[in-house]
Subunit: 203 residues, 2 copies
């Protein structure tokens, strides 16, 4: 009796979701040194987007390294695989109609380029969280620079492993010059300018 069933797919598309949500969906890829403020700014942007009714989610070490990528170490191959998987997951979130904010050092330009190529041109926004190494080291919120200087951590970005700063990021925010609130406003202004989120209400 099942032969009469029409087994067609009626998938909800990315476009359907964007229209429903009344906003675009894209990856906001925050990259920068440890201690530069990636996670702080990403979470503050997330909070602001949430308050504006914009669907969004943050991927960071807390929810990735202990979950999806807990099988990965810190070899060159594993670091690349780490970023690849984050990129693939971010792509799924974009497809689901959300903004996805990623906060990983992601020091290698080629790894970031790989993620950029996974999605459409208007779906990858590279945000360089710029902060001088000495300032990051002074902040050292997790005590990692101190450990790296003592040699307890090897291949630490900025100390004995390179950080390849973006050469043409969509946006650069300078956390040594601007407050978190100002940085958040710069990101929001960028998204409004590209009409990815609704214009600010005049209130």
């Amino acid at each position: 009796m099942s032969t009469n069933i029409v087994w067609h797919q009626t998938s909800v598309t990315k476009q359907d979701r964007r229209e429903r949500n009344s906003h675009h969906s894209a990856i906001l890829w925050f990259t920068g040194l440890s201690g530069s403020g990636k996670s702080t700014v990403a979470n503050a942007v997330s909070r602001r987007l949430f308050e504006l009714g914009i669907q969004n989610y943050v991927l960071d070490g807390d929810n990735i390294r202990h979950g999806l990528n807990k099988d990965l170490g810190f070899s060159a191959a594993d670091r690349t695989e780490n970023i690849r998987r984050i990129g693939e997951v971010a792509k799924l979130f974009v497809d689901s109609g959300q903004f996805v904010l990623t906060a990983f050092i992601s020091p290698f330009a080629e790894d970031r380029a790989l993620v950029r190529r996974l999605v459409d041109e208007d779906e990858f926004i590279e945000i360089y969280v710029s902060c001088p190494l000495e300032e990051c080291e002074k902040r050292d919120p997790k005590g990692l620079y101190e450990k790296a200087r003592r040699g307890e951590i090897r291949e630490f970005t900025g100390i004995d492993s390179p950080y390849e700063a973006p050469t043409a990021p969509e946006l650069t925010i300078e956390t040594d010059r601007y407050s978190v609130e100002e940085c958040v406003e710069q990101v929001l202004a960028y998204l409004r300018e590209r009409r990815m989120i609704p214009a600010a209400k005049a209130d």
Copy 2:
């Protein structure tokens, strides 16, 4: 001058998102033989939820095997890793406030149990898509059973690899007895009964 910046985190929580969305978030884990109708029913449920304004997303072979899990083959270890990663990604979607519908054969009870343990008790809804093997083989929408019978595919679930049917699924839907629309209604009724989505409007 950055020393005055308060670098605190103000993460949006899962609870924040659920309250905003006015619905729960959970994994709807569809499991069943190839051809049982997992993907068809999952996509039809997704469409219905979308029409009800409920944030949701489908993970299936189309968006996982060619993306996140494209490095995995079909060995026992890779199959387990395939399901593990899908479970971890599904957990992220739940955290983001969405229902996530997964449509994978997922033949092994232990793999499904692993995913169940990743999330809270009210966040994993195992839906057994029940359909007799002979019916699935008759449908054979992708011609896979024919290939398996000819020996062109090895370790094909139901043919030369076991399918461990759920012993205590939250829900069983029988696609050989009910239409897609009826199956969708059974899933929706279940979600309403558990108050995971708003009650149906009397219209």
